[in-house]
Point group: D2
Chain length 348, copies 4
């Protein structure tokens, strides 16, 4: 079988590096090229040194060089706000597009402008795009031309909440995403400076991280029933979304098992933690590190009304590049798990 040529645009960042790692082992995709405006002509291995054996002779190409190519699919891993014209260009040239940035994740123009503080450069793209989380939009993705990536914090929060939200049992959820330093990307800042970041428990956004817009859109929970905070923790990889939930009416644990198992029992990448052992019931992102898996767990207070639901993912895989490849597999008719069968590296 001939492999699908795919192109990565914005390959010098961390999501780009993780796409390259996945593509190096993908059975049905072949790398047509990897674009970096700033690094064109430089070896990929200079930026992603762990991939030197996989790409010993590959160099980044310029956007202009990329236009000579005819990929079946393009992954865009550009800074937020700069994808729209590039998306439009590749759609017009007949490629399918998965855009990892936030640019086409929201369906509502009003919501986009409120959360991102600027008019959208190409609102028609919002109509066309499908939110790229296969667990929620598998069939729509299969027929689409344009799929968004997913927010890493949003993905973890959505997977923790979706089964409850669908059942209409959530009155209020206050979510805290505990995030590793790779979430901030590859550009150094004071916040990422090792002496300041190491072992930190820095709660830099208590209520209204932008991914809240995605969580509301995808769960259907009204924005004012949600808060989403982000706390920087020691890890490099990993998101642990912890939802402190008030239920509309008291539930029994069996009700919750039914909701979660119903939602995820057949998913290839989402797993519900068993009740035992107790210390693993609410999942730790270490247990999925290096894989495209999500673990979801919950603990119900004896009053049946106070609930903690948790989802753990690797932010660079299930929270970004892994889910993007999962969607690309659907777009191109490949098995959904192709290239994504890496198992977690633990302990690490």
């Amino acid at each position: 079988m001939e492999k699908h040529p795919v192109l990565i645009v914005g390959g010098s960042g961390m999501a780009g590096g993780e796409l390259l790692r996945i593509l190096a082992g993908h059975p049905s995709f072949t790398l047509a090229g990897v674009v970096s405006r700033g690094r064109a002509g430089h070896p990929v291995a200079a930026v992603h040194p762990h991939l030197r054996p996989d790409f010993p002779d590959t160099a980044f190409i310029s956007p202009a060089e990329a236009e000579e190519m005819e990929p079946d699919l393009v992954f865009l891993a550009l800074p937020h706000g700069s994808s729209a014209p590039v998306i439009r260009g590749w759609l017009d040239r007949g490629a399918r597009v998965v855009d990892l940035a936030a640019d086409v994740r929201l369906r509502s123009i009003e919501r986009y402008e409120r959360w991102y503080g600027a008019p959208h450069p190409d609102p028609a793209l919002l109509d066309e795009a499908v939110y790229g989380l296969p667990e929620l939009h598998r069939d729509e993705i299969r027929g689409a031309r344009l799929v968004s990536g997913v927010g890493c914090n949003a993905t973890a929060a959505i997977l923790a909440l979706a089964p409850l939200a669908r059942a209409g049992v959530v009155t209020e959820a206050r979510i805290e995403a505990r995030v590793g330093s790779s979430e901030g990307g590859s550009r150094p800042s004071e916040g990422s400076h090792h002496p300041f970041r190491s072992r930190s428990l820095r709660m830099f956004e208590p209520f209204a991280h932008r991914h809240l817009a995605e969580v509301s859109q995808e769960t259907g929970l009204p924005e004012n029933s949600l808060t989403l905070g982000v706390t920087a923790v020691e890890n490099v990889r990993g998101v642990q979304a912890v939802a402190t939930i008030t239920l509309a009416e008291p539930l029994r644990e069996a009700d919750l098992w039914k909701l979660y198992r119903g939602a995820y029992g057949h998913e290839p990448f989402v797993f519900v933690c068993p009740a035992r052992p107790a210390h693993l019931r609410l999942p730790d992102p270490r247990l999925v590190m290096g894989s495209n898996r999500a673990l979801v767990g919950f603990a119900l207070h004896p009053d049946g009304r106070r609930l903690t639901a948790v989802c753990a993912i690797d932010n660079l895989l299930k929270g970004a590049s892994g889910t993007a490849v999962q969607a690309a597999n659907l777009l191109l008719g490949c098995p959904e798990t192709a290239g994504l069968e890496m198992r977690p590296v633990y302990p690490a």
Copy 2:
């Protein structure tokens, strides 16, 4: 001025080591002896190697040897459940006692038995003891013979909640204490094994950690309005108690400043974080590491009803040995801050 001879019973654990570190620099206390049943005769420096220059020739003594001494005050740092007879013995011999274990923290026998699952061996001690948090019981401690230590998670939770609880504005608080590995003491276990503990985000107790009993007692908030979970994080030292609060009625930020500044404005060890810079408003325990200080901060949702209050301490100092010495200073008529002026080591 003659120094007060003080005795440490249970000096081979982490709280014992921290007491020794403080006493090595205390201007008004002198170490009468340090007892360890298991290590009697062994050098202190073999167990606490960082203190070799401070105690080059000191050895642990046996309980029997300790009975020859006439200390003004005894610190007990024994395993929970074993303090009662030792307390009684030293009280009878005229010494003042600070018991760092949980044995005399609760005033209610019923509550003790419910949370600790056993009858109390000497209930009269519960009547006599004062909860040893000077910020709440300064005057009672001054006149007491017996003062309890404080739970580290409890201390952080109490300091975050007390000003609100006193004002009667809290409907519900769900507290998560994020704790370093030194909280578990010096005995290795599977949970403390480095490959498993490193970088963990292990939520091993979501709702009902035992310190909840202390938090309820000291804040006056009913137990059923509270949950207290504990999450193991990467740090060695530090507790960050995060209270996710529902207020009884909408408040303004100015109301909260008034409550917190009113409560802590004159405290020598408790500081309220300013509103700016935003990323330091909710305090990180790194900023108090190595000191007896507590930082308290809060963030109010625009709806005036959802509140996050946070307190950060060093669990071995403000959460254990530091507060114990602070109470001992009051018991013996010394300045409250004597021996406790260590400043935080940051970045570290």
Copy 3:
């Protein structure tokens, strides 16, 4: 093609977990069973929670149950000193054996007894066994019945030194292996207790770690020209062997490139670091974490006589289970890289 049934004996430790992770994705092996004397009957997922999705229903079996099976190959991951009778049993029943312990790594009985301080229980096994490092013994492994595993520190040291040793240019090498905490296995100890182990730089064996015997055997360098120390560092995974070498006569950098490229230019898992960028020339184990790769690099002092050579591996993969599977592939006639194509997880 029918898959080879393989058995793991001693599956509850870290090397056993890593074997399971590899076998879950191996194209030509199938797991016949996984033995644990202490955990027989318990689910594999209770011990290796990250592998629950891969082995949802597998339980450990007892040694007696294992005897019912007819595996093509047996991996032994037992504590050092206990393999010999088990090896003998499986050889007699016609299986090939890879023994990850130290029991059959040395060829000389004298050397074994000197370093392990006890007579060998079955000296004939030392005659038969092949040291299981394919980079040195590929052809012998292919024809063998019994292959040893490799010491993790030894592997890193051997790969750093072998090209030099073969060329006869080494007068003296002092090696320091910097090791992560997973090297100590899954049993907690004071040394692995997180408060003591975290961020440590503990040099617990300066000159004569037992793996020195393997390094001498495999490089041919006399024991008295070598020292091997071990230093515990913060990482969970990874060995970085740093050899501080005195060369017999001044060499030029080009000579060294020739030796290293000659040795490893065609190896599937060993890569020589390029001279640029300078900070990656001496390899960091983070760049191979989660993979079976080894990185080797060197820096020559301008005097041509003082040399630093470094090898970085993941101790659980190239330093244990990965190399064991690589050898098993050779033993069973599979492609050497089968099941071992995992790429490093970086940054992590």
Copy 4:
């Protein structure tokens, strides 16, 4: 007794922060002012948030404002290369000066120019300055006007080597300084970016770190008998200098004890590690973290010729600001340990 007014110039960096922490508790010094060109007018607490309770109302002042002051002593914590004119100015105005930068550490103009690659702006300062390590230059410092700071890696290496060098027993020493991230200062860079720096073992300078010039000068060992490499490790604070030494002739362990105890037996801040327990014989910087102490230890190979000597310090204290205050105490006739009695924070 009236306190000595002292001034800090360059107070916004990490060495400046540590000077402030020490001065906040110094019994004989009072802070005249803290200068920061870039931050003049901003609160000290905005840059050093852990010191807010100590300096609630202090703001940085400009260099011009500082000229209004009449400090007894000035600490300069400026970037390397910019101290000379500032030193000259303060000396002319009658203040004593401790310059923490590298500008006046070397006595030889030739050596300065060779290692720093530029002519010295004011060579007479090199003649006048005393190298500010009291353990080597106590009496000269007492009578000086100008004292240099010390290189952190150099300090650790010098303390490990000096007793041996004085005795003339060293043929060759290859030194590796393992350093925490605070050594790089407070400015973010790609190398300090948490995802890349976390858990790294990055050997970025194998042979010729600039501090080698200081080590050679202060030990008298010829430059070509030394190498000094630097390896970045996980810690935030701490330097562990490991010297891999070849002795001129075989020595016995007793000889070495005599040299080290002779050198450091009466030092207030340098301690020789005892032979037992073995795992603490070669010191770990964790055991001095937060203090001005240095630990020195050694291990001799049975051949009597191969020696490992190690020194561990906190780079911001004994490696920078602590030693600077120690020298200032001597310059102003205070007890050498004044303000420096902080004990190590361990475990942390």
